[in-house]
């Protein structure tokens, strides 16, 4: 469906500004030759002509919001490291595993040099001695392409000692993940790099910027976040902030999946594009399949509370989406049309998070498992009315207090805004609950229908025979 078969999944028509996908239309955009021919490593040259502090100021001024999930501005994060502690490290988070998210994989496969250049600019600006590139284990092509690009970049003198004849030196090491969702969490990623089980560290008190990899100050950034830097250095802060809005400048990549006519990865303008533009626009997803009705969508990866058609006019702007009861997260939009079995869809997501729990926190390990068990009992038609309250009660033990959800005029519900309180170390526990809570809040009648059906089975129709009577 994409016009570029080598970038399967990526769709580009319409006349939108491109910051990170500008080479996706080139079949050989991943080679050093093509990268240099299209302005590659110019950003690095410009950065090296300035002082590190000037480059840092430029990144801070551009307000590049982290694209990994939390949306924290990159320039601000770099400034959080203690001033006198060296060496400092950069860890690149390429473990992309959030359900529905598949943008970083394309960035690594289609434009690995852009990522490497971004790493070098970050290392220069923030005084980082070494870069660790962590790529998800299930992405062999990304690993191959980044590895190849790294060899080329070393040979051409872009990486290593005395880069481009300056006294700036940095090494980039590739690390192949071994498959575990929770390792995408930044402190778990650091544990995994140290060769351990990927269990998130308790924070506060110590964030990775203060005590990270091997106990040293460490910056963890997402692949897409860093891929923005070469363009920023070439075109400047004003050009970057001229795209999008003041609080959400630039573009962002979104991955749309599910029941739309044209699922795929799009680079959209941040802050102004609305969900309606994205799902129904001609240059984007072109509406719901078979002319069906939209029932619900997940706006920011499997961890995000769900939206209904009532929220379609919200733009991709973190604060507005947060106030409406969800989050933009990793930029994955999952669309469900009116044929979707809502409790069953919630169950797949909950099953995922429950299975991916690392097991450190009891509310996540036990709560997630119980959410899954009770929910599958309901989906299988064996639920009882008490199960619905049971689900909310388990959720309360993971996230005490009000849990965010969207408003619904049909149900007379006001939105509960982000964020929530939690009893766990990381967000895997709450993520197991988010789909259950959304589904149960917005589509309770579907759960009740499954329960009622079970209770209406005529019991007398079953004849007790000597064998079945003693069966259990």
């Amino acid at each position: 469906m994409s016009s570029y078969p080598w970038a399967a999944g990526y769709i580009d028509d319409g006349d939108r500004p491109k910051i990170v996908t500008s080479r996706f239309h080139l079949e050989d955009g991943y080679t050093l030759e093509r990268y240099q021919a299209t302005g590659g490593y110019d950003g690095l040259r410009r950065a090296l002509a300035k002082s590190p502090a000037e480059v840092h100021d430029e990144v801070r001024g551009a307000t590049i919001l982290g694209r990994g999930g939390a949306g924290f501005p990159a320039g601000t994060k770099w400034g959080l490291m203690p001033a006198d502690k060296y060496p400092r490290y950069l860890v690149v988070n390429g473990d992309e595993s959030e359900p529905g998210t598949y943008k970083d994989r394309l960035l690594m496969e289609r434009d690995p040099h852009q990522l490497i250049e971004g790493c070098l600019i970050a290392a220069y600006a923030a005084g980082l001695a070494q870069v660790f590139l962590y790529i998800r284990g299930e992405m062999p092509l990304a690993h191959e392409r980044v590895g190849q690009a790294l060899n080329e970049a070393y040979a051409a003198g872009y990486v290593g000692t005395n880069i481009l004849g300056t006294d700036f030196s940095v090494d980039i090491v590739l690390h192949w993940g071994a498959g575990a969702y929770v390792v995408g969490e930044e402190t778990a990623l650091i544990e995994s790099l140290e060769g351990k089980r990927g269990e998130p560290r308790l924070k506060p008190p110590f964030f990775p910027a203060a005590i990270g990899l091997y106990g040293q100050p460490t910056i963890v950034n997402n692949v897409e976040t860093l891929s923005n830097l070469p363009w920023l250095l070439v075109n400047g802060m004003e050009a970057y902030t001229a795209i999008g809005t003041q609080t959400s400048p630039g573009t962002r990549m979104v991955a749309v999946s599910g029941h739309v006519n044209r699922p795929g990865v799009y680079e959209i303008v941040n802050g102004t594009t609305t969900f309606r533009d994205l799902l129904y626009g001609d240059e984007f997803c072109q509406g719901i399949r078979n002319g069906n009705e939209l029932k619900a969508f997940v706006p920011g990866g499997g961890s995000a509370p769900w939206f209904t058609p009532e929220q379609l006019d919200l733009p991709f702007e973190g604060r507005l989406v947060g106030a409406a009861g969800s989050m933009l997260g990793s930029g994955a939009i999952m669309v469900m049309d009116h044929t979707t079995d809502i409790p069953a869809a919630a169950l797949t997501l909950t099953h995922f998070y429950a299975a991916e729990s690392c097991g450190q926190c009891t509310p996540c390990r036990e709560g997630g498992t119980w959410l899954e068990r009770v929910l599958s009992r309901i989906v299988d038609g064996n639920g009882t009315p008490a199960d619905l309250d049971q689900l909310l009660e388990i959720g309360e033990s993971i996230c005490p207090g009000a849990f965010p959800h969207a408003s619904s005029s049909a149900l007379g519900l006001e939105a509960t805004p982000f964020p929530y309180k939690m009893t766990t170390i990381c967000f895997v526990g709450p993520s197991a609950y988010a789909p259950v809570h959304s589904a149960l809040t917005l589509f309770r009648s579907e759960f009740e229908a499954k329960i009622t059906r079970r209770n209406s089975i005529p019991v007398t129709a079953v004849h007790a025979t000597p064998e079945t009577a003693g069966a259990h």
Partner: protein, 184 residues
Amino acid sequence: MSDTALEAGASASGSRHTVDPGRPEHPSGDDRFALVDTHLRRVHDAQDQLIETLHVAQDVFGFLSDDVLLYVARALRLPPSMVYGVATFYHLFTFEPPGEHTCTVCTGTACFVKGADDIVADVATAHGVHVGDTSADGRLTLRTARCLGSCGLAPVVVLDGVVHGHQSPSGALALLDGELGGVR
């Protein structure tokens, strides 16, 4: 471990590891350990290289047997419990020899809403194999995986490392027939 994902390492074209020519035979009598040794020397037996070492060992042996895990533990001077703990934490490591062919069905959310469960059920029935297991004749290992990052192609089936998008139960069965030469 039903969510074991594809063994990306083993599916890469051939092994990336070679034995130094002229090396004496490995004391264990199995030269594949020499490939692991080459890697260990390259990383100076560093303990934080445990995961990389397990990747290499699995690439070389196809799976991680108890012997291999103990060998790695001793080489890196780590307690076997820690090596076992790390290896079992990550989905890509497997502890049983895989079948001749491996079929992985993505059961992530995007694939689920497009009918991945039916594909799993039909393949399992047709080939008499449970998810996470290998058929009795050793021909087919059936796995399910969390989202493979190809949701635009949902539902996705990966057969011996090759991604096939937009699958249906009948399409997946035909694909398997082509690769395995029909169901016996």
